[in-house]
């Protein structure tokens, strides 16, 4: 798989951000690093897309930002997944799977790529 810009797959950046925050509160850079690490560097998230997405999710009440101190003792804004965000993550994950299975079937792949 070639390198992918996170915004090139419609609607998945939000899902990735929610997933990145599911186990731990992170600042923007932390979210970016987490996504890149989890996908072994295949998916890159640009700053110009990441921060607006974080702010939009915050406005929707799916994540909650607050200022704290980073490991490097710098002032940083950390984001936390809210209860609504957790619910949305669950729902969108299921949808994503449905979508991928459907496309796989459409493309004539005999085996389920996700199993």
């Amino acid at each position: 798989m070639a390198d992918v810009d996170a915004t090139s797959i419609y609607g998945t950046l939000n899902l990735m951000i929610l997933r990145a925050l599911a186990d731990e509160d992170r600042h923007g850079l932390g979210v970016q690093r987490r996504i890149e690490a989890q996908t072994e560097g295949r998916v890159t998230v640009e700053v110009g897309a990441l921060y607006p997405a974080l702010h939009r999710l915050e406005a929707e009440g799916l994540i909650d930002g607050s200022w704290g101190v980073s490991e490097s003792r710098r002032r940083a804004k950390f984001y936390r997944l809210t209860a609504a965000g957790r619910k949305r993550l669950k729902r969108d994950t299921a949808r994503w799977l449905d979508h991928v299975r459907a496309v796989a079937r459409l493309l004539g792949l005999r085996e389920d790529p996700l199993s």
Partner: protein, 873 residues
């Protein structure tokens, strides 16, 4: 949820990202500048920042809106609590508002249903009445439609009363004889069966009838098998008619909304307009063809009229060509009522303004009481806008209560008015509250709030803080601006009240004059009973004469009845027959048509029953009824004045239609036949013995209860023939009263509005004066302390308060003079006016205002103790 972040927050967040990354690269062994270059894609960060800032800005805006709404709800809750704490003020304010808004809403709903709402027909704005002034016959109506390229679905309408007999009690039905295009033109779809076709209007094939939904349900119990049944309907040619359909429930005809049945207006193929004697077609309607303007179509109708006149100058005389044209359906049906209703809305709008001025006073007075509180609060840092919002919320809360109560007042008022509306206005059946009315009411209420709420709110919070704190301490919490505003309010109220009361008085007086107009007969004590004479049962000529004679005999025998006579048209009902005549020795100028005179058919002692004096000669010999007599006529004074000014009219001959001769045997007094406000015109009376008009109005003078007399006469009518329906028994005084129903309605309404205006105006003056007196207690106290006499102080204070009243009266008089001109549509003769009446109105209003000012002023100066006042300093 967290508050939106600022631009600086976003910068901090992005800087952290940048610096952290650089640090990582430096730790990995890159030089700092190199690391910065590697991380810092400047455009990318700028984009991130810009998008975040936009997002946050939108978020802030949304939050502000939510804040405003929450704040408003809080303010309103607070306002309702405050209002509940002062129930007296609240009740006064809500009542005032309810009366003002209610009266406006009621008048507007009448205006809305009668004038503004389009007629419920397809493309109603393209429906026109053809040649409104002309009477047509069936052939001529169709001929005009055939020649016109700018009109479609042209149909003639004529009105009949048919007698439904042979199935239960005989019943008189209102019928419209129409061409087949009628149903298409007015979108009158069938509920059952079908409408009749063009073929079924042909003579011989026209034994069909279409029923109204109302008749079908009430008379026939909504019988689903009614179509195909044969009904016996007397009065217009065919007696037996087959029911072909029932119209849908929501169809209301544009004229005579209570029509029960529709029958074909007979057409005669091959006849020319000159050969067709169906000259009873009173209305011809059509629809403008697509893309044709009213003016263009009217021009075409004029030229068609010109052509018809050239072909047949008798059927379409010169005068008719002058009147040829078109009127939109709205103009034709609603016409001059439009202006009157708008004028009425104007009058009731003035009442609302007076009510608003009162409310403003109330709110101001309360505001003054709260001045110190407000001053302290704004000194403590409350924003002015916030204080204004509180005041506004209170007005809004009042508006909600007052507006709701106003709708109630309007609904109740309309219910009370319902009967008077029906008799007085076209389209009155549709009057009721609707969405538009509700919106209007809301707008009126909000307008009122703006008028009485905002001004005072700005004023009480507007003056300089320190001035107010100081003034408050001294106990005279009234800035000069407040007094000015109060005076303006008093001036306005008095002026508006004068306009409304003065106009109402002028209209009322004209109405009384109208009612006092001597119609030329004495309606008191006369009962009228209208009897249709079905031509199938009693063909014109001998059978009708025999029936008439027998009926007269029977009615005369009814106990309690004095003089009895018949006439074929009830007076004062806007109905008339006028025919061309040629009096002896009268030379019509060449090329001019014969002069015309009103024509009435009478029998028995008609003139005696109505106390119409015989001035010369004699009346008909009663024996002329029933005998093929000598053709004689009685004429009125106006007739003599016009046609025999110098000679003795007795024994002269008048040729009806220029040929049939009638010998004048007597002269009677003039009568206002058409309407109370129409001068009498030349008129001739002939006996039933020589003319069979088809209807009989029994006029019986008697003693005792008119209702009992009516039933006795009805019994006598049925004694002669049980198949004759008796549609209406009315005292002649009721006929006179109904003839001015519209004038009475408007006069009454205006009277009610004037009472409201007077009441509200007086309450307003009282309130303002009481308030002004209270707040100038200190000044008066000082005057008394330095030796002024109490009476002088009182006079002085009153003088100050009554100046705006006097100015208001003067302005009001000017207003009345203007309004009277606008009110001529209400009742004839208003414009002339009566200077003494205006003087009286001014005197009454002035006295009322003086009293309203004097009462509180006296109370306060009496109790005034200069020592106490000065000590309070």
């Amino acid at each position: 949820m967290r508050p939106p972040s600022s631009g600086r927050d976003i910068d901090d967040e992005l800087r952290f990202h940048l610096e952290e990354e650089i640090e990582r690269l430096v730790a990995a062994g890159h030089g700092e500048d190199e690391a910065r270059r590697m991380v810092h894609d400047e455009a990318e960060f700028r984009r991130a920042r810009r998008r975040c800032v936009d997002l946050e800005r939108a978020r802030r805006a949304r939050r502000r809106r939510e804040d405003v709404m929450e704040g408003t709800a809080r303010d309103l809750r607070h306002a309702f609590r405050t209002l509940a704490r002062s129930p007296g003020f609240t009740l006064a304010a809500v009542l005032t508002l309810a009366l003002g808004v209610g009266a406006n809403t009621a008048v507007f709903s009448v205006l809305d249903s009668v004038v503004l709402r389009p007629f419920p027909y397809p493309e109603a704005d393209r429906i026109v009445r053809v040649w409104p002034a002309k009477h047509f016959n069936s052939t001529l109506a169709l001929e005009v439609g055939r020649r016109s390229r700018s009109l479609e679905a042209v149909t003639g309408v004529s009105h009949w009363q048919l007698n439904l007999v042979g199935a239960g009690d005989p019943e008189a039905l209102d019928a419209q004889a129409v061409h087949a295009g009628y149903f298409d033109l007015f979108g009158a779809g069938p509920r059952l069966g079908r409408a009749f076709t063009e073929e079924e209007t042909l003579e011989g094939d026209d034994g069909v009838v279409v029923l109204s939904h109302g008749l079908w349900t009430e008379r026939f119990g909504a019988d689903p098998d009614i179509v195909g049944r044969t009904l016996q309907l007397d009065g217009y040619d065919h007696s037996d008619r087959t029911v072909v359909g029932v119209l849908s429930e929501d169809f209301v005809p544009p004229v005579r909304p209570d029509t029960d049945v529709w029958i074909p207006l007979r057409t005669f193929p091959g006849l020319t307009p000159g050969d067709d004697d169906t000259w009873y077609v009173t209305h011809v309607f059509g629809r403008l063809a697509p893309g044709v303007a009213l003016d263009a179509a009217a021009g075409e109708i004029r030229s068609i009229a010109g052509g018809l006149h050239a072909e047949d100058p008798i059927s379409v005389p010169e005068g008719d060509v002058q009147e040829a044209g078109l009127a939109s359906l709205a103009d034709d049906v609603v016409g001059d009522v439009r202006l009157t209703l708008w004028a009425l809305l104007g009058a009731v709008g003035l009442v609302l303004l007076i009510a608003c001025a009162n409310l403003a006073n109330l709110v101001l007075a309360r505001g003054e009481g709260k001045t110190r509180e407000l001053a302290v609060r704004s000194a403590l840092g409350a924003h002015r806008i916030r204080l204004v919002r509180h005041a506004l919320a209170e007005s809004l809360a009042l508006a909600v209560l007052g507006g709701a109560a106003g709708l109630g007042v309007a609904a109740a008022g309309l219910e009370t008015l319902e009967r008077s509306l029906q008799g007085a206005l076209p389209r009155a059946a549709a009057v009721g509250l609707s969405g538009e009315v509700f919106l209007f009411s809301l707008a009126a209420t909000l307008g009122a709030v703006l008028l009485f709420g905002v001004g005072p709110a700005l004023r009480t919070t507007g003056t300089d803080l320190r001035t107010r704190l100081r003034a408050g301490r001294r106990g005279a919490g009234r800035a000069r601006g407040g007094r000015r505003l109060n005076r303006v309010l008093v001036f306005g109220q008095v002026a508006l009240a004068t306009v409304v009361v003065g106009t109402a008085a002028a209209v009322g007086r004209s109405f009384v004059e109208l009612m006092r107009t001597d119609p030329g007969f004495e309606p008191e004590g006369v009962v009228t009973v209208s009897v249709p004479l079905p031509t199938n049962r009693y063909p014109r000529g001998e059978p009708q004469r025999i029936y008439t004679a027998e009926l007269l005999e029977r009615v005369r025998a009814v106990p309690g009845i004095g003089e009895v006579g018949f006439i074929h048209l009830l007076p004062l009902t806007l109905s008339n027959w006028a025919f061309p005549i040629l009096p002896d020795g009268f030379e019509p100028r060449a090329g001019e048509p014969l002069p015309s005179a009103n024509f009435r058919v009478v029998a028995g002692d008609y003139f005696g029953a109505l106390r119409i004096p015989l001035l010369r000669g004699e009346l008909f010999d009663p024996a002329t009824i029933g005998a093929e007599g000598d053709a004689v006529a009685v004429v009125n004074e106006a007739f003599v004045a016009r046609f025999f000014p110098d000679d003795d009219p007795l024994g002269r001959t008048v040729r009806l239609f220029g040929d049939s001769p009638f010998r004048v045997v007597g002269v009677v007094g003039d009568v206002r036949q058409f309407a109370l406000d129409r001068e009498p015109v030349a008129e001739m009376y002939v006996p039933y013995a020589s003319f069979s008009p088809g209807t009989i109005q029994i006029m019986a003078r008697g003693t005792g209860d008119p209702a009992a007399l009516g039933s006795a006469i009805r019994a006598a009518v049925w004694d002669v023939d049980p198949e004759i329906p008796v549609p209406s028994v009315r005292p002649l005084t009721d006929v006179r009263a109904d003839s001015v129903a519209r004038e009475r309605l408007f006069t009454t309404l205006l009277g009610v509005f004037a009472s409201l205006a007077l009441l509200l105006g007086i309450v307003g003056v009282y309130g303002v004066t009481a308030y002004a007196m209270r707040s100038s207690v200190r000044e008066m106290g000082i005057r008394l302390a330095i030796g002024a006499r109490p009476a002088r102080v009182l006079r002085r204070a009153l003088g100050t308060e009554l100046t705006p009243v006097a100015a208001g009266l003067a302005a009001g008089v000017a207003g009345v003079l203007l309004a009277r001109r606008a009110a001529t549509g209400f009742v004839p003769g208003v414009e002339a006016g009566d200077p003494w009446l205006l003087v009286a109105v001014v005197a009454v209003l002035g006295l009322a205002a003086a009293l309203a000012a004097w009462l509180p002023a006296r109370r306060i100066t009496r109790r005034l103790d200069p020592v106490a006042v000065l000590r309070a300093e």
